[in-house]
Symmetry: C2
Subunit: 321 residues, 2 copies
């Protein structure tokens, strides 16, 4: 039975992937430091004899040893990351450490234990503010605009170098924002939290016209696993996102309608929600679609099912500011 390792196993995408892999009959070694991951997301997994949890920080180079030593792991899904994109400007070193140096440590751990296949969660943010929309994987060489994007780009570069030097094989996914069950950051989370505090007024970062493409977690996992199955190059790079976009204020309208509210909306103004925010992320996903990927849920459906999940799981807001 193939063994898979999943870093960031208690995070949003990681925990959903663990559930999927276990359901598909695989053994899974999950790695997390629980800095932002939630133990609750693993409550089903830890009951499975096919799941092993390794608690550790990837900045500690022994963590990957603990996860890989004495096992026959066939692939590492490296999803651990600082996913707090908007506060990079407050903590430039955090992105460097958690997204770049941690990735180096994962790769070196793999090399030490003869594991050579890696899946990496990159981001559409690495295109910066592109001139081409929708943006393909081979868009003109971008200039970075966020610490998050820069740190993921650096991770991609490290991975590609390991492929060239040591015969690794990689599947790199540049995501739009992902949402769905287990989603604990981002605009739906923020809007719902704000509206719980004050149902009559909400502040929205930027002018509300930022356009984003949101992808449902189930569709995201389908794309990841399809790319791994069909991508045979040494370095396989795929955009993953929907073919349409939604404006932030339209997404807010969906949310307040579902909640039966009609708050006063205050926009902070400007094209960008935060320093390094992309006013428009819209990826050309032809490459993964040609392999047969077709997202099942629309952006609207994704936003609403995420909202419903947050309403059903008020505990995710506990301990948050």
């Amino acid at each position: 039975m193939p063994q898979y390792a999943v870093t960031g196993c208690a995070g949003f995408i990681g925990s959903n992937l663990v559930s999927r892999l276990l359901a598909d009959g695989h053994e899974v070694i999950g790695i997390d430091n629980f800095s932002t991951g939630r133990r609750e997301f693993l409550s089903a997994a830890i009951k499975s004899p096919a799941f092993t949890l390794v608690e550790g920080d990837l900045l500690d180079t022994t963590t990957m040893d603990k996860a890989l030593k004495g096992r026959s792991v066939s692939m590492v899904f490296h999803l651990a990351a600082n996913a707090d994109v908007s506060s990079g400007v407050l903590h430039p070193r955090r992105d460097l450490e958690q997204n770049t140096i941690a990735t180096h440590n994962v790769l070196e751990g793999m090399r030490s234990h003869d594991v050579s296949r890696i899946v990496f969660s990159s981001t559409g943010s690495i295109y910066g503010e592109p001139d081409v929309f929708p943006t393909p994987e081979d868009a003109p060489f971008p200039i970075q605009t966020s610490f998050y994007g820069a740190s993921k780009l650096a991770g991609e570069g490290l991975i590609a170098s390991f492929c060239e030097a040591f015969g690794f094989q990689a599947w790199i996914y540049r995501f739009v924002s992902v949402l769905g069950e287990g989603y604990t950051h981002g605009h739906v989370f923020d809007f719902y939290r704000k509206l719980q505090t004050d149902p009559n007024r909400i502040e929205v970062l930027g002018d509300g016209n930022q356009q984003k493409s949101y992808m449902y977690i189930g569709d995201c996992l389908d794309g990841i696993l399809l790319g791994v199955e069909k991508g045979t190059a040494p370095v396989n790079i795929f955009n993953l996102g929907l073919d349409d976009t939604i404006k932030v204020h339209d997404s807010l309208a969906l949310i307040v309608d579902r909640l039966g509210l009609s708050p006063k909306v205050d926009y902070t103004g400007g094209k960008r929600g935060w320093v390094g925010d992309s006013p428009l992320i819209h990826l050309d996903c032809t490459r993964i679609r040609k392999l047969g990927w077709k997202p099942a849920r629309s952006i609207d459906q994704g936003v609403l099912c995420t909202l419903d999940w947050l309403r059903d799981n008020p505990w995710v807001f506990e301990g948050r500011e």
Copy 2:
């Protein structure tokens, strides 16, 4: 009088830049840890009252404090790097530390001391193995093939993020190989050293058909300073190289002819001299040429003047394997 800081001031490009800046009447704060830099290259500079040497490692975050505190530095030329491209496969972490993490530390040091203009020595290696020759700055998004290129790409991303987040301005130069007085690594150095040991036989990495574009250090400095003078964008990216290329075996022919030798040449074979070597680096330098840059020396002239300098300075080989 403007003060400039130069990291890697005892290295090949750094020490030549220090000489140029001093000759132009500027005050220079030089920073080096002398891991590969040579004190001999600063023998003229240290006699100048306009030069201050700060010895320190950029992985130590206090080094930039020492260099910038209490001064009014208007620009940092960040040239310190691990420039040993070919042995990245033996030391993947060295490129990460010396080219990526050190760059982060330089940027954070600058931010602490309100210095916001940075020049960065990047590399044509970040284009990996491109499909487009000559390769322009906005070539299709490349896949990295070397730890060196990946670590410099990561440095570029960090710098661009600081420009976006903190109002920095940057001039990033993607060089071909640079040679000339003070050159202490690379093919002319290696060939001459090998021929000193055995004038009758020389081993050449690869099949000798790798094509490279070599630029003379004086032309390189002209390009850097012109770009700084005329580049007004927040992030200015320039390729710097010659419009033609030379094959490795043709360069060797120049060298053995100048030395009056006719060694047997053994090629190790293969398109690449080492893992991550680019069989062809040929940059489109239209962008910097449009600003008026015109290299004064041809590749042949650069190779031969480098060889002559090495013959006149045998001490540079002392202490080398």
